[in-house]
């Protein structure tokens, strides 16, 4: 049978506040265990929470950016479960009245827009961290109390790729807002997935499983793909899916059921009596709205309109906020009206350099002016595109300008006939048979000879000129 996966995602992002959600401890990552704690985040008896204003404002900001209704009246609830990383054995969270709800996010799938609805985004406190050692679990509460925003989608995604696109887009928006590091390795972005299968075309919902422990977007995609296969095999065999929580095992590349069964969940939510409610006025919302920068979607459209960038190129250019800022600088510095070469350079050689160096475009530490200068050489056909790519690598490694690299390595393209005559003569002499083939009408043979000339000139010959000269000689 053919199945359609139904996927919903729960994303937790740590908000980048200086201090924790309900106390004044720092939120820095990687400090000594239990060094960033106080009686409040340790949940010591008698302590009380006081909400961090920035955590609230960041949450509103994300809600607005995700097209949510930001609630005028919001409050916190206690969610109860016993676990040693949870100091009070309840988590201050939001149940009844989340800060925002009913939003959406549009993703691009094969050139088509698909809308993924966002059910709610609520603020809560993070738990501590457990480290397992022999027959003990060790608890570090440094992370306990860091503000978390939980963003819950509707089960609107129907493939692992859609889930991947959703996460990429979500991360991009949140980075634009500058409210979270969104670093999955450091745990500042976490994603759990719900997935069920149904017969393609049907509207019902199957039994779902919950997937946890994915530490990258790719892992989310892989875990979902694995789970689709696992569930469809079971269904094909006439077996039933058991509703459970499964952990993605990165070594075995499979999802495995959690060993501890929690039993039926009964979180005993009730309004947090220690925190009076919060009223987010329309004025406040307007104020926060003003603070929201141009988001990737709008920026991509503007790039298309203002700079004539292709739709696909623009989307790649704006995905990362810092990249988009760098891109825009390059686009404005570039003197020609046709900005296509800049776009090609940015999403081509520049991005691949950035990826291989594991940084973003500004991280390559090349100024827009220097990059434009390099592009200029190719536009004037003084160097070939191929040469230009290696010049870029040299520039990045040596911090020299394009002109300096080209001059030092003597890379200027040879375009005048006199400079190329010798190479051409040699090439024809050494490859008489091929030359004859061309004379006899075999067009392909010409390209071989061009290649030979390029080799002899160490890539500096202008291939177009070489082609013309060869034709003239051989016809």
């Amino acid at each position: 049978m053919e199945y359609e996966p139904v996927i919903g995602l729960e994303v937790h992002i740590q908000l980048k506040t200086r201090t924790k959600a309900f106390c004044a401890c720092l939120t820095d990552f990687g400090n000594q265990p239990n060094s960033q704690v106080c009686p409040v985040c340790l949940g010591f008896p008698g302590t009380l929470p006081v909400l961090n204003i920035i955590a609230l404002e960041y949450s509103v900001k994300v809600g607005l950016a995700l097209n949510c209704l930001v609630q005028e009246y919001t409050k916190f609830d206690r969610k109860h479960y016993y676990y040693p990383d949870l100091p009070k054995n309840y988590q201050i969270s939001q149940y009844e009245l989340p800060i925002s709800k009913d939003g959406f996010l549009d993703i691009n799938i094969d050139g088509l827009i698909k809308r993924i609805n966002i059910r709610r985004a609520h603020l809560e406190e993070d738990a501590g961290k457990l480290i397992h050692k022999d027959d003990l679990s060790l608890v570090d509460y440094n992370r306990a109390g860091i503000p978390l925003l939980e963003i819950v989608s509707d089960p609107d995604m129907n493939s692992p790729q859609e889930a991947y696109e959703y996460l990429t887009k979500l991360k991009s928006i949140i980075e634009y807002l500058d409210v979270s590091d969104c670093d999955m390795e450091k745990g500042s972005l976490r994603c759990d997935a719900n997935i069920s299968l149904r017969e393609r075309g049907s509207k019902g919902l199957g039994v779902k499983t919950e997937l946890k422990n994915m530490n990258s977007f790719k892992a989310v995609k892989d875990a979902l793909s694995f789970e689709i296969k696992r569930q469809s095999d079971l269904l094909d065999d006439g077996e039933k899916i058991i509703q459970d929580t499964r952990l993605w095992n990165t070594k075995e590349l499979k999802t495995l059921p959690m060993r501890t069964k929690e039993g039926a969940k009964d979180y005993r939510y009730f309004p947090e009596p220690d925190l009076p409610p919060f009223i987010i006025s329309p004025t406040k919302i307007t104020e926060i709205k003003k603070d929201i920068p141009e988001l990737p979607e709008v920026k991509a459209l503007r790039f298309q309109k203002e700079y004539g960038i292709l739709e696909y190129d623009s989307r790649i250019m704006v995905l990362n906020k810092k990249n988009s800022l760098f891109a825009e600088k390059c686009l404005t510095v570039y003197p020609d009206k046709d900005k296509k070469p800049v776009a090609n350079w940015l999403i081509g050689p520049m991005l691949s350099e950035a990826n291989s160096r594991n940084c973003d475009l500004p991280g390559l530490d090349i100024s827009p002016k220097d990059l434009i200068e390099l592009i200029g050489f190719t536009q004037r056909q003084e160097i070939s595109n191929l040469t230009a790519k290696s010049v870029l690598t040299d520039m990045l490694n040596s911090k020299k300008t394009a002109a300096e690299v080209i001059k030092e390595k003597n890379l200027v393209q040879i375009s005048d006939a006199s400079g190329l005559e010798n190479y051409i003569s040699d090439a024809i002499k050494e490859n008489c048979a091929v030359a004859n083939d061309f004379k006899n009408g075999k067009e392909n043979a010409l390209m071989f000879l061009v290649g030979e000339v390029m080799k002899k000139s160490k890539g500096k010959a202008n291939p177009k000129v070489v082609q013309d000269l060869l034709k003239r000689r051989l016809v």
Binding site: P45, G46, L48, Y82, N89, V139, D266, R268
Partner: protein
């Protein structure tokens, strides 16, 4: 005579003597300690006598309470000193921080006694019988309970084992023991005193307040402990008046409501008589006393037991043996049971710790409270109780449009015998029937001595006012007190 026993004096009397250098701070502390050593082995007003009295630890800070020792209930955090809520589960717990009220007291120069006053475990009770350190007795009659849960603080003040004390009031835990012990107990408006550092029982009801020998001391102490605290989101940022200024001996024209629902069947006839006389006295002093109705009064106790136990079950979830207090790895109970097979070692540790660490009443309330919040029962119990709380509050709102305050008995009976109600939780719960409403509505309320029964047990008059109108209460209470002899009566202990 009095100067020979400074522990028998009020705080304001001692402050006068300190000012005139008739007495030293060290004398006061030493007399208090002497008295504790002498009578507390019988009275058990303090939780851990074995903690040892540290003579002469006088705070050096200048302030209006300089030189005065104060006794603190065992559920208010004092940095470095045992704060155990009289529960085994907090065995040995020394908080790493001071409650805000303790900080304020220290800043005012008060000396915080290192031994804490006895209480019902986690303030669960009305008799101070539920303490892991054993029950406190009533200084007026050692066979009777002192009330609770702040029974230790009330008994200590009544027996001159303390100059004054702090208690906490969730459903009457300051006023009821004050009434049983013949002292003054004040529950401030919810939000008036910071709860930071008060080990929570029911967060939406708890307030810290003074237990003192007279109304002036209550005002003096309130001046120190009240006020906005940025560490408590429910504390209110309203200016605190100087309460001693509201102590004028004049209630002419004061409109006082007398709720008919507080004079119910089952009320002790002597208490009724004493209260009636007190009301007549208020009239004689010029107050306009009229009967009123608080229609939802009979629902206050059930609402309270739903809300308070639910919040308690949540607040007490943190006592699990991980970070502080008792830890038991295994218990005989679950090991043999079928059920424990599904429990891992960690869950067994939790259950053993909590099974062993909590006393019976604490377990009963946690179970009841958890039930009220659990899946399928929330709407029927918790949510409904929150709604009835609204109705109770609205009753008071109506009354306070026409009346300045309300006067009523603090309790339906005088102090009962030790053991008399401990096997019947419901009858115990009903001893808070007149005090609970003030907590549900967040109102300030005082209990002042207003007479003695034939058996020589004190009775208390309760005065309530609208939120943040503590001044009216002080004025009425002071006027009554200064025109009656009751606050001068002392138990023979």
């Amino acid at each position: 005579m009095a100067s020979l026993h400074p522990n028998t004096l009020t705080a304001h009397e001692l402050l006068e003597k300190l000012k005139n250098k008739e007495i030293s701070a060290l004398d006061i502390v030493n007399f208090v300690f002497e008295k504790i050593k002498k009578t507390d082995p019988n009275l058990r007003a303090y939780a851990r006598l074995d903690a040892g009295l540290k003579d002469g630890q006088i705070m050096g800070k200048e302030g209006i309470l300089k030189g005065l020792p104060i006794s603190i209930k065992d559920n208010i955090c004092t940095e470095g000193y045992n704060t155990e809520c009289c529960s085994r589960i907090l065995d040995g717990f020394k908080p790493p921080y001071d409650a805000t009220v303790i900080r304020k007291l220290k800043e005012a120069g008060a000396t915080i006694l290192n031994i804490k006053t006895n209480m019902d475990e986690f303030a669960f009770g009305s008799s101070t019988e539920n303490s892991c350190f054993g029950p406190t007795r009533n200084p007026w009659n050692l066979d009777c309970v002192p009330g609770g849960s702040s029974g230790g603080s009330a008994a200590a003040v009544a027996a001159d084992e303390a100059i004054f004390a702090l208690g906490s009031d969730t459903g009457g835990s300051i006023r009821q023991p004050a009434s049983y012990c013949g002292v003054v107990g004040f529950k401030p408006t919810y939000g008036r005193v910071s709860r930071y550092g008060l080990i929570a029982f029911a967060s939406s009801l708890d307030q810290i307040g003074p237990i003192t020998k007279d109304v002036l001391d209550s005002a003096v102490l309130m001046n120190v402990i009240c006020g906005y605290d940025p560490l408590d989101s429910t504390s209110v940022n309203i200016k605190v008046p100087d309460y001693t200024k509201s102590l004028v001996k004049d209630i002419k024209g004061l409109r006082i409501g007398i709720p008919k629902e507080y004079f119910i069947e089952g009320m002790d006839p002597e208490i009724k008589k004493i209260t009636d006389e007190a009301v007549n006295q208020l009239k004689d002093l010029g107050a306009v006393c009229k009967p009123i109705s608080l229609a939802h009064t009979e629902y206050a106790v059930p609402v309270y037991y739903v809300l308070a136990t639910a919040e308690a079950s949540s607040n007490l979830a943190r006592f699990d043996g991980v970070q502080y207090g008792l830890r038991a790895e295994n218990s005989a109970v679950m090991i043999d049971k079928r059920k424990s097979e599904t429990d891992n070692k960690l869950i067994r540790m939790y259950k053993a710790t909590r099974g062993k660490g909590f006393g019976e009443e604490a377990k009963r309330r946690i179970i009841l409270g958890t039930f009220g919040l659990s899946h399928g029962y929330y709407d029927a119990y918790y949510l409904r109780a929150l709604k009835v709380r609204t109705l109770i509050k609205q009753d008071f709102d109506q009354i306070f449009k026409e009346f300045d305050c309300i006067a009523a008995p603090t309790t339906p009976t005088p102090a009962f015998k030790i053991g008399e109600r401990s096997q019947d939780p419901l009858s115990m719960y009903l001893s808070d029937i007149y005090t609970i409403s003030a907590n549900l509505a967040g109102l300030p309320a005082i209990s002042i001595p207003c007479g003695l029964t034939k058996d020589g047990l004190p009775a208390g008059l309760q005065i309530l006012a609208k939120p943040f109108s503590e001044e009216i209460i002080f004025r009425a209470a002071y006027t009554y007190e200064q025109n009656t002899p009751w606050h001068l009566q002392k138990p023979k202990i």
